[in-house]
Structure formats: C-alpha cells, structure tokens
Symmetry: D2
Subunit: 137 residues, 4 copies
C-alpha cells in the first residue's frame, strides 16, 4: 500500500455554528493529504498540470464519525492500493490528536489532457511513483 | 416526493486553478438547497437549532459529471422520498443553465440534541412538514 | 455613480463557531457584487479574462459593523465613482434584511495582461461601460 | 514586539481560475497566525471563548504584493506592539518560500462578552500574555 499522512491544526474559519468543523472541509482535508502525497513522492500536482494533465475528481464519498473541533490537530491520510489505469482510487481518513477517527472515505480521480479536456491514462511518472511505493512495502 | 430547487450563479472564489468549480463546493451547494428547502417549508435550520436539535451530516456521496464554470447559473435540487425516523436521506443534483447535470449525490443527516449531543428522532415539525409534502404530490 | 446590488441568503457553511458569518466571507460577498455588476453591464469577468486581461486585487479594507447570521438575506452593493485608468476603486457594503449595515469597505483592483502578467490599462470595454453608467446618472 | 510565525503549504482549493491563491484566503491565513500565536502563548482562542469572551474582527486591511501559488510554502506572521485595552491591533504578513512578501495588512480585534454580546476589556490572561512577551524582547 502507498500511504501518506499529513498533520495540521483545525482552522477557525473551518468551524460552523454547530461549533465543529463543517462537513465540506473534510473533503478539502482529503485533498491536502493527496496533494501532500504527490509532492512527497516527487511529482507535485502543479508539475503534473504543467506537464499537461489535470486530475479532476470523479466521485467522493465520506462517512462522518466524530466531529473535529477548533484546537484539534488532525492527521489526514491517503492510501493507494493499486496502480491506476484510467482512474485512481484513494482511501482517506481524518483522525484527531486522540486517535479518534473523525471521517473516512474514498475519492476516485480521473486524468484529463489539459488542452483537449479528454480522458487520458494516468501519467507515467505518477504510475511509476505509485508502483515503486507499492512494491517497497 | 418532496422536492426543492434553488438557482444561483457560480461565485468566482469557488473556482480553482483547473478553471472550474472546485469539487468541494458541490457539497456546499447541496447544503444550500437543503437549507433552502427547510426555510421554504417554514422550518428553517436556525429555528430547528434554536429549538434544540442540530442536524449533523452522517455521510455524503457525490458523483461529478460535468464541470461548472464561472458564468454558469446553477440549479441545485434536494429531494426527499421518505419521512425520516433517526436519519434523513436527501438526493441532490447540481445542473447548469443548459440543463447539463454537473453533479449528483446523496446526503444522510442525523439529529442530535444540542445540549447532550445525543441522537434523537427527527423533530416533529420537520417530520410533519415532510409528511405533508410527500402526501401533497 | 455606477451602482449595483445583489441579494442572497447567508449560507450555513459561511458561519463559524461564534454563530455568525466568518469575517473572511464579507470579502467574498464584495466580490459577488463586483462580478454581478460586470455581468449586469454586459462584460462578465470570464469574458474579460478570455479576452486576455485578469483583474487581481490590489488592496482590500473592510470595517465590520454588525454580524450577519444564518437566516439573513443580505444585500451587497458595489459603487464606482470614477472611470479607472490603471486602477479601479470600488466602494462596497453588506446590509441585512432590516437595512442594518453589516460591513463596508473598499476594494482596489488592477489589470494584468494574462499572458505576460504585466500591468495594463483598464480594458476599453470596461472603461466604456463604467463611463456610460457614470454619465447616465 | 510580540511576534509569531506559522508555516504551511498553499492548499489546492485555495487557488482560483487566475491560477493563484484567491485574495480572500490571505485574510484566513492572517487568522491562522493569530490563533497560532494565542495557542503558542498558552491561551488558545477556544479556551478564551469557553471562558466567556469572543474576539470578533473590527476591521481588516490587506495589501496584495505578489501572488502565492500552489506549491508555495507560506510563512504567515502576526505582530503585536501594544497591550490592548478595548481593541487589539495585529500587523500581519504572508511571504513565500523565497522570502517574497505576498501580502501585508493589519487586523483590529474587539472583545465581547459571549452571553451579553457587549464589548468588554481584553481578557486579563491575554493581556498578561502579551505584556510578558512585549517586555521579554
């Protein structure tokens, strides 16, 4: 499995009047971990885009388990189990500093040629990166 | 079916560097339609909260079909098919001005006693409202 | 004076744990009114960008007068007093449904050539549009 | 001077279709540094609120100097020069990894009794904290 985790505190503006982190922000946290994983792997999203491939979201699902709050330091994870062909599936979680699972879900990504907007295969650099990590562990 | 729709333009800050609306914002659009439906039904979310019940999100799923862009005027819908007991399931869509489906998904909501944080049944006013609308059509 | 106003309800995700609209969102509301004004004038921002000029923000100032809350329907205004040369200054306000002033401020915009990133004069179409409205009233 | 800085990467969802960080997000970055400073000083905002005082924004001003982009790691600073009475003024900056100043501004905060909503003096713990830091340096 290719695995990455990122730690950061809740930001005040992410809370809502229920006094907890608004549910849409977990979807954004997921993205932070995915992009952190790409950057950590040496192929940041902005380079991928500059080389002509954008990575739009195909679908998202998220189950909310426990509210994150201001003051929490969250750990957000991204895990990949298979080298992608046309689509990349990433499992994601958000936990708080007590190890309590706040949210979990999965995100499916596609790949588009930036100029034509047409679907393309996963960029070779990204596939190689994932393959290497999958075989490392 | 209880059905509601809301129309509004894409906001510039909702776009990202792919030049389209960031995927997290559809989750927020969904919420706008849900809250619009409650307000339209005479029982706005802020009144529900003031009466002691918060409505946290249990799960969200969203499939992205077609990118919304700056300049688009979106129609966001919320549909309810069953009177909720402990949980309320809402089907949701986002379409653009050409009737093109941009995103569709479903959101499951729970009900919590605001003071104790414990799960409660759907507030009677909300259940009545839904029941009335379901039988109207 | 060229004047435009836009009305829309507060969105739930815009509130924070103080129970009011987070201060950063007024800056976004300002933008909604500015872009509404351009679209209303027949020269929407996305067309301006497509024609090669982006309109970045040079500076923002905002005074917060009264909190907007969930359930409020806001009126956001944008006013221009002078045809811009290199910079465009826009006065902005946000008021609630009771006419209570929630925030007021001003935003200064610049104009950049999209390809070179260099400052340019206000696009002629935009200058004409503003000039026409200023002389109309 | 009481000084604090925080480092974090730009998040993808913070970019807009100009390809840079949307201007409203600098206002949010400012907040992150302010709240980081409070937490670092041993009196986090959530504790202050739990003890009955909220800290709403009175005014914000921000000058935009250089665009932050995806891939940038930002340093956000907050500086206080005077022990506050009724209002607290904080100078703020955002710079990128090359030391380039992206934005600078100042934020004025007030203090409200959480229950009555009426203005109060700066909480003693916060004033003490600031006073101690100001005399340390």
């Amino acid at each position: 499995m290719m695995y990455f985790e990122l730690k950061f505190p809740v930001r005040y503006y992410e809370t809502d009047q229920m006094g907890v982190v608004h549910h849409s922000n977990y979807i954004r946290y997921f993205e932070c971990a995915r992009n952190g994983m790409m950057a950590d792997g040496g192929y940041p999203i902005e380079q991928c885009e500059a080389e002509g491939v954008t990575i739009p979201i195909v679908s998202v699902e998220c189950k909310y388990r426990y509210p994150a709050r201001m003051g929490d330091v969250l750990t957000v994870t991204a895990s990949i189990e298979k080298v992608p062909l046309a689509k990349l599936v990433i499992r994601q979680t958000v936990s708080n500093q007590d190890g309590k699972l706040c949210a979990e879900g999965s995100v499916t990504l596609g790949f588009l040629n930036k100029d034509t907007g047409r679907p393309v295969a996963c960029p070779q650099k990204l596939a190689d990166l994932i393959e290497k990590r999958l075989s490392d562990r």
